[in-house]
Amino acid sequence: MTPGEPSSNRASPLVRPYVLTGGRTADEVVMPPETLVRATGRSPAASFSAPSAAALSALREGISGPVFEPGDEGFAVEQAGSFGAPAHRPLAVVGARTSDDVRSAVEFAAEHGLPVAVQSTGHGNLSNTDGALLISTRRMRRLEIDRRQRSVKVAAGVIWRDVIDEAAPYRLAPVCGSAPSVGVIGYTLGGGLSPLGRTYGFSADYVRKIEVVTADGYRRLVDGDHEPDLFWAMRGGKGNFGVVTAMEFGLVDEPELYGGGLYYDGKDAEAVLRSYVRWAPLLPATMTTSIALLGSTAGLQLPGASAACPLVHLRIAHIGTVEQGSALLTPMRSVATPLLDTVAQRPFTSIAEVHEDPTTPIAADKRGGVLTELTDDTVSALLTTMNTSAKPVLFVELRQLGGAFHRYGSDIGSVGHRDAAYSVYVVSAPIDAGSSVSGSTRLLEAIAPWAAGGVPVNFLGSANAPADVARAWDADTHHRLIGIKQAWDPDNMFRFGYPLIAPPRQVSPEAAELLRRCQEATSVAELAASLGLPLGVVRVLLADLVEAGMVNTYRFDPERAADTQLLGEVLDELRKRV
């Protein structure tokens, strides 16, 4: 070896022998030995001991509603919710009746270091809540309409059906979702893509006030003047910031609804979709449409003989007169003869007829996205995948955005991808053991050329990891949301249902020891020496901790080695020492 040649031995066969679980080697972790490391305050997954029986019975006493533990009668019902969430196994379920119950439950969770999950209807498919305290809000169904303010205040468990029916006598209506059985809060926290959205915008745009119990156990009323950051974050940031106990939002004058659906035979699918591609972009904002491909006719009552799949289901919600609405719809009525046409003038209370969403859950893989445009080629890609995929895609839905969905403004929340042209939501059979991709993943891959890379948070479906969740916003919005999350919920108490940050990880005993030793900023070299571990090992352990958000590292920027001011400071300090 020739001494004196920097880097000359990079080709040396010698390596630092340690490899991260993810396959990264110690040499790839850029962390010079003087790098300072400091714990962020995020703790590793506590090997928390479940609260004692005594603690749980104290909780029962403090709650006006019932508390269920696994094995208790009623546990399964409460856990499943009205929509039948898949089985998961929280430590206990608090059947909250009041916002005080919610606060007591959150306080209890904070005291015992428990994560908290929330469920109202189960439409959100909560899963893997093992060890969490589940707050079930379905008993909190109070709502109050304020006719003068044209607003409604709803408690945590209210569903759209409740608001639609209560508002109707006042000739008011909520900007609601497609299925009245969906919970108002869970839906609205995710922005809320309404079947009236091109006319009225996102449901979250109507929120005026939120009452929320945050991770510190306090109940707060947030709005544009009180904790405006939190208020902004909660209008689109999903359930990351606390348990909402009540929400106040504006209503609209009861719309003159001309709506319903057109079902077409699969043999017309290509023609119908190609017309839709041309027709939809020309529509005024008074009409909101979506189009779905159904992989099976099961559960549908269609006149006539067996129809070919995929069936096409065009959904229409026009706000205005029948004449205007039917004139707009003419091209789609004539492209092919629908098997069924339910589009008609109808009371707003029958808004569910527009989408005719399923009312029972299916175990499936669900994924979403947003498209920048829809073309004939997109249609071909969709149909090819639907028809040739070995794992049948059960359902694809394209919702047309634009119109009031595009609304921007300083008073608007954190809803992502407002400028997209279409949202897409796909349901397929669950991934089976033999394969790593589902039909829905495959379909989204097929239409990737027209995708914007994002997804509405309410349409994330089965993609529940923070990396997936990040795709629900542009990078700046996501960054701001993470900052607010870290300020309000540093321990990630609310980590279920599209968490912004990863749940705390289990860490090895060495990493736990590292964490204990870097509460104050400490160098990598000192950590290695004090633990008696090689530098390479410490580097990889730290890289994992950095990724888990548990430590920050402060590297010296080599550019600053020539920084006169810095060198001057170092010099002054050294001179004081002689």
Binding site: P17, L36, R42, T564, L574
Partner: protein, 210 residues
């Protein structure tokens, strides 16, 4: 949880004490020249030794337990610390002795604000490869003559010539065992770094034969 409190505190906001800055100076030189002694004298903590394990193949972190195979080599580095002020810490690193591991030196010197090269006048030849190495980097360095037992028998110009050093290369006498002397040497390094900050190009060196 204290719900009786009148104000609504933000519990556990991530602490933000500002960003600490680690700066480092590398202490180098030939075998047995006093590097460890120097780092220990300058440092506010007892000199600490950290180790890097090298091998010709990769193993997982999980298989650390005892399966260190024969091809494994341990390389030791000394380091010390001087807390200059809040958020500004100076680290001293002694380069590992065995010269097979130059590539580890690259990691060490990257981002250093300067370096001390200790020389023992009785064994000048040992410092040739080290000086060569540093001349090829952009790191400002000074030559520190470690006068074992206060012995400085050679004038600097003689040493300069023997070491084939540029006339501008700073050279100081030091006692590696003495805190003040070691600190003065570090001061010379930083002074040189400040003076040198415009001349980014390495100082060309005349030939040097080991």
């Amino acid at each position: 949880m204290n719900s009786a409190s009148e104000f609504e505190p933000m519990r556990g906001r991530p602490h933000d004490d500002g960003e600490p800055t680690p700066v480092k100076i590398v202490v180098s030189g030939g075998f047995g020249v006093g590097k460890t002694t120097f780092v220990g004298a300058a440092s506010e903590i007892a000199p600490v030794r950290t180790e890097e394990v090298l091998t010709d193949r990769s193993v997982g972190v999980d298989d650390l337990s005892g399966t260190v195979d024969k091809a494994t080599t341990t390389v030791a580095m000394d380091f010390g610390r001087i807390s200059l002020r809040e958020q500004l810490v100076l680290y001293l690193f002694g380069t590992p002795g065995q010269q097979r591991f130059w590539f580890m030196w690259d990691d060490l010197v990257r981002g250093a604000i300067g370096a001390v090269i200790l020389v023992d006048t009785r064994r000048l030849i040992d410092s040739f490869p080290v000086i060569d190495y540093f001349e090829r980097t952009n790191i400002p360095f000074v030559i520190a003559v470690n006068g074992f037992d206060g012995d400085f028998p050679y004038a600097h110009e003689h040493l300069r010539e023997a070491l084939a050093l540029d006339a501008r290369r700073p050279m100081v006498d030091c006692d590696a065992r003495d805190t003040t002397s070691a600190t003065r040497t570090l001061i010379a390094v930083v002074e040189h770094a400040l003076a040198n900050r415009h001349t980014a190009a390495p100082v060309p060196a005349p030939g040097r034969n080991g």
